[in-house]
């Protein structure tokens, strides 16, 4: 078997001798097709598009015609189709099965959303067309803004953030701008629960704040005594997720909001878990000053293998003045875009990105909202919470819920039920893969040991949940019955076995190169 100097096999087809996945000559197994890189398939002479011949007229490139090589292969259309269809079959997906990922809200992605987003009047319009030619586009933004403000009970919204973390940045920038405008420039400390998603502290730092962590109490909620002790006149605010990342509603949220406000700070709410309360609770009624909403979570826009997302951020009266440009306003029957700070009513903290926001996600989310209506959305939250509690109730005799009592839309377990089995949370998760399930969120939130956070969402049927529960029950029993090898070897049924992530970080190979050698050494 040819290997490089690191002892790594250099071609898939030569792994035949290992006796692993590639037990066949071709490396494929039935419907599961082995598929190499385009660089190993195509050539630079091939192309899968038919374009007219250039006329060969003189260029006006100022002597800057490209001299450097591209070395990019092409593939014909049939080969392209096969390449990506084969690769697609190596992916788990919502359309295939349940993703019990806590705080990701992996609900069904309705296909009507896709159809509406592709209407030429939405897909084939340029953001810089004159306003008279894009009134319907501005209207979509305005309608969606209205739904978001009404659902959250907030008077303002910034539509331009391009993802949840970008929305966090928007909200925290508004808070920083407000504080500075009021001369409160000594307020640079932001309180963040230990259970917070990593984007929260990362965002706070981007806005020039320092992060002060608040521990959780024994119920998994903000430790109120610790929180109160951290209040002070240098506090800019708090970043809270509600329901929190343990899947629990912060009972003391009104008191937290009041205390933060009284001490001169502002309340940022991470809206990742809005699916638990949409239609039943309005964050504006809880004292929130800014909250981002993940359209790709609560409002079903597809995850697409890692985006695109959209993170519109609702704002209180105190902060709405500082909302970024651009935004749409309605004057009579016409919509206008305010895109320059000088033309804005308030005092925008700036522009966050080019153009006007993730329009493709707006059309999908608005389609989803209109389909559900206020009654359907309320049912969404109820079924989401029902489903998570059903899982918790039916598994608590074999797995260990991290906290007592009911949960909201996600159920948190820890690894106490695996104690002394030799099976870790990671092993348990990999065994789930063999059972045909994407693992739940692992090792998050950090406040619980070996965390397993399960969020089924409302689009799981009872039958589907029952099958999932029965599988986890069997796995938990198997772990405790000493079947350690099964877990440690898992997965064995996936397209690959466990992948060496340590090696990937130590010897990063971040692209294909002709030499097939590792691209760069990483000294540690």
């Amino acid at each position: 078997m040819p290997m490089n100097t690191q002892g790594r096999p250099t071609r898939m087809a030569d792994n035949i001798a290992t006796g692993g996945y590639a037990e066949t000559t071709s490396g494929s197994k039935g419907l599961d097709q082995a598929e190499a890189l385009i660089y190993e398939r195509g050539t630079v002479e091939q192309t899968g598009v038919d374009l007219p011949e250039p006329s060969g007229r003189a260029t006006r490139l100022g002597g800057l015609e490209r001299q450097s090589e591209l070395d990019m292969p092409g593939l014909s259309e049939p080969e392209t189709m096969r390449h990506y269809v084969r690769l697609s079959r190596k992916n788990y997906a919502i359309d295939l099965g349940l993703y019990p990922l806590g705080s990701c809200t992996m609900k069904h992605n309705p296909r009507l959303n896709e159809k509406m987003a592709r209407l030429p009047g939405f897909a084939d319009v340029h953001p810089m067309q004159p306003a008279a030619t894009v009134q319907g586009a501005y209207q979509v933004i305005g309608e969606l803004a209205h739904w978001l403000m009404t659902l959250t009970g907030m008077p303002g919204v910034a539509m331009s953030p391009k993802a949840g973390a970008h929305g966090e940045f928007c909200g925290m920038m508004a808070i920083r701008a407000k504080l500075d405008a009021d001369g409160q420039t000594h307020r640079r400390r932001v309180l963040v629960p230990e259970s917070a998603h990593g984007t929260n502290p990362a965002t706070a730092v981007q806005c020039g704040f320092t992060v002060d962590e608040i521990p959780a109490d024994e119920t998994g909620r903000v430790d109120m005594e610790a929180f109160k002790a951290k209040l002070g006149d240098d506090v800019a605010g708090i970043m809270l997720t509600n329901p929190n990342t343990c899947g629990l509603f912060e009972r003391d949220i009104r008191e937290i909001a009041d205390l933060i406000h009284e001490s001169g700070g502002y309340f940022y709410c991470d809206g990742a878990n809005f699916n638990a309360i949409v239609g039943r609770v309005r964050p504006g009624d809880l004292g929130v000053d800014a909250m981002h909403i993940n359209l790709h979570k609560t409002f079903s826009t597809p995850h697409g293998g890692g985006g695109p997302g959209s993170g519109p951020t609702v704002l209180s009266d105190a902060l709405a003045d500082f909302a970024p440009v651009p935004y749409v306003v309605q004057r009579g029957d016409d919509w206008e875009l305010v895109e320059h700070e000088a033309d804005a009513q308030g005092d925008p903290f700036g522009r966050m990105a080019a153009f006007h926001g993730q329009m493709g996600m707006f059309t999908r989310a608005l389609t989803y909202m209109m389909s559900h209506g206020s009654d359907g959305l309320r049912q969404v939250a109820e079924d989401a919470v029902l489903n998570a509690n059903y899982i918790q109730a039916r598994l608590k005799h074999v797995m260990t819920p991290a906290f007592d009592g009911v949960c909201m839309h996600e159920a948190l377990f820890d690894d106490r039920f695996l104690k002394d089995t030799g099976v870790t949370t990671l092993d348990f998760a990999k065994a789930m893969i063999d059972e045909g399930y994407h693992p739940m969120t692992m090792y998050f939130p950090l406040v619980v040991h070996g965390a397993m956070l399960i969020e089924p969402t409302e689009t799981e049927s009872k039958g589907g949940l029952d099958r999932f529960i029965e599988t986890l029950e069997a796995l938990a029993l198997a772990a405790n019955a000493g079947q350690t090898e099964r877990f440690q070897a898992a997965p064995i049924h996936a397209p690959t076995k466990r992948l060496d992530e340590t090696r990937a970080a130590r010897q990063p190979v971040l692209r294909w190169t002709a030499s097939n050698e590792p691209e760069m050494e990483a000294a540690e």
């Binding site: 096999p9 890692g306 970024p324």
Partner: protein, 447 residues
């Protein structure tokens, strides 16, 4: 409701298994004053037919680019996307897949990202690229912050002919950091005014080529000056197809190349979602400070090649308040669309496409220059250039729209109060000779 599988029987059985009487018993932690008993004041649920009608009515109020002669650019470009692309990105396994954190069941996503990263690096003439940013403007902003981290200097010099949205996004990201951004004044032909601003405190020089006015710039002189002072060069582009014909940033001394990938695979979409391209040199300092996700090659327990997300210690979910960026979700499906389109093109198709774009723009330039009173200002361009009109360009654009021509973007829309007689126009492979003739005639009629 069609997306909610439970029947009332299901719900009753589940409540029973949980041991509560009603769903309200699961919401008892909500403060009473905040509990909503009734429905929020919004329309109630609707079937597909009604929703389609409502959305189509809004879509119908917009003039789509394909329906009229169309010459709008200024950071987003109309190109033809092969039908294979949209078909593939709608496959369930790509559309409804999550971020590839469980690599064993995400090799589809991870391998396509690895290929994407390679293509982006090749296109830009750089060594390494990430798995995408939100868009070109935020990629530019993140590049500025990365340069500050790498050089440990706090001054960034941005050319005034970088797309103003990119400048503004960069200023916003840097606003409450120690990084100061100096923007030189935008000039219609040269970017050399950045040279005077480079000194020993400069972290980076940011220059766009083709710039916002469409001019092409040789970055080598600026690179030499920047590197002599210990500063990094960040090259920006908004039209990715240009790199099929124009010299790559990596060949002109760029340390980081960032830009908008929308031209390839993604479509206009009224401004988003797009796909930010981010590439840099193969330097350990750079790789460790790069924002965004990275797909890397490795092996599995059987020695078989596979791909994983790697170098995650840069990222927010591991490093939290010490992360290189707060970015989490990026632009995965748009990156897939990009890489599918690029694979269909191959370098042969890309070069041909780029050449057709340039030739069409040359034909447009000739047609417009032939109009009395209209001057084409660029001595060099790829597919976008600036014309000077004898009238206010914003008025002209609105009047052109009334006669059914989308004739470019007034420069004053990007630079309020400046360049009021300058119009930015773009031609791509989607423009026919008829389109150009109609535009020229309409414009001539208005002057």
């Amino acid at each position: 409701m069609r997306y909610l599988p439970h029947t009332d029987t299901d719900r009753a059985a589940m409540l029973d298994a949980i041991g509560v009487a009603s769903i309200d018993d699961l919401f008892t932690d909500v403060p009473e004053a905040a509990r909503l008993d009734g429905l929020i004041d919004l329309p109630e649920k609707q079937g597909e037919l009604q929703v389609e009608r409502a959305m189509a009515a809004m879509a119908g109020r917009n003039v789509s680019a394909s329906s009229v002669p169309f010459f709008v650019g200024a950071g987003a470009y109309k190109h033809h996307i092969p039908s294979t692309v949209d078909h593939l990105i709608q496959r369930s396994e790509f559309l409804t897949a999550y971020t590839p954190y469980q690599p064993e069941i995400s090799q589809g996503t991870l391998q396509t990202l690895f290929e994407f990263q390679t293509q982006v690096a090749q296109l830009t003439g750089m060594d390494v690229a990430n798995a995408s940013m939100y868009d070109g403007s935020t990629a530019c902003a993140e590049a500025v912050m990365m340069a500050a981290r790498v050089t440990r200097r706090m001054k960034a010099v941005m050319s005034g002919s970088v797309h103003p949205h990119y400048v503004e996004a960069s200023k916003t990201l840097a606003k409450y950091s120690d990084v100061e951004i100096e923007v030189t004044s935008p000039e219609l032909s040269s970017v050399d005014n950045v040279l005077a601003a480079i000194d020993e405190g400069t972290a980076c020089v940011v220059v766009q080529t083709p710039d916002v006015f469409g001019n092409l710039h040789d970055l080598r002189r600026i690179s030499d000056a920047a590197h002599a002072a210990g500063a990094l060069v960040i090259a920006v582009f908004t039209e990715a197809v240009s790199l099929g014909l124009v010299e790559a940033p990596g060949a002109m001394g760029a340390d980081i190349a960032v830009g908008e990938g929308q031209s390839i695979g993604v479509g206009l979409n009224f401004g988003g979602p797009y796909v930010g391209l981010f590439a840099c040199k193969d330097d350990r300092r750079f790789i460790r400070q790069m924002p965004g996700r990275l797909a890397g090659e490795t092996v599995d327990a059987d020695g078989r090649r596979g791909f994983v997300l790697t170098l995650s210690t840069r990222e927010q979910h591991i490093r939290r308040d010490k992360a290189t960026s707060n970015i989490c979700t990026n632009s995965g499906l748009c990156a897939l669309a990009w890489t599918v389109h690029m694979t269909l093109l191959g370098e042969k198709g890309l070069k041909q496409l780029a050449r057709i774009n340039h030739e069409t723009a040359c034909a447009l330039a000739d047609a417009l220059a032939a109009i009395d009173g209209v001057d084409v200002l660029n001595s060099s361009f790829f597919n976008e250039f600036a014309v000077r009109l004898p009238k206010n360009a914003d008025d002209v654009v609105n009047q052109l729209a009334k006669v059914g021509v989308l004739g470019g973007v007034p420069a004053s829309r990007l630079y309020p109060g400046q360049f009021e007689d300058i119009l930015l126009v773009t031609a791509t492979e989607t423009n026919t000779a008829d389109d150009i003739a109609i535009f020229a005639k309409a414009l001539g009629g208005l002057i």
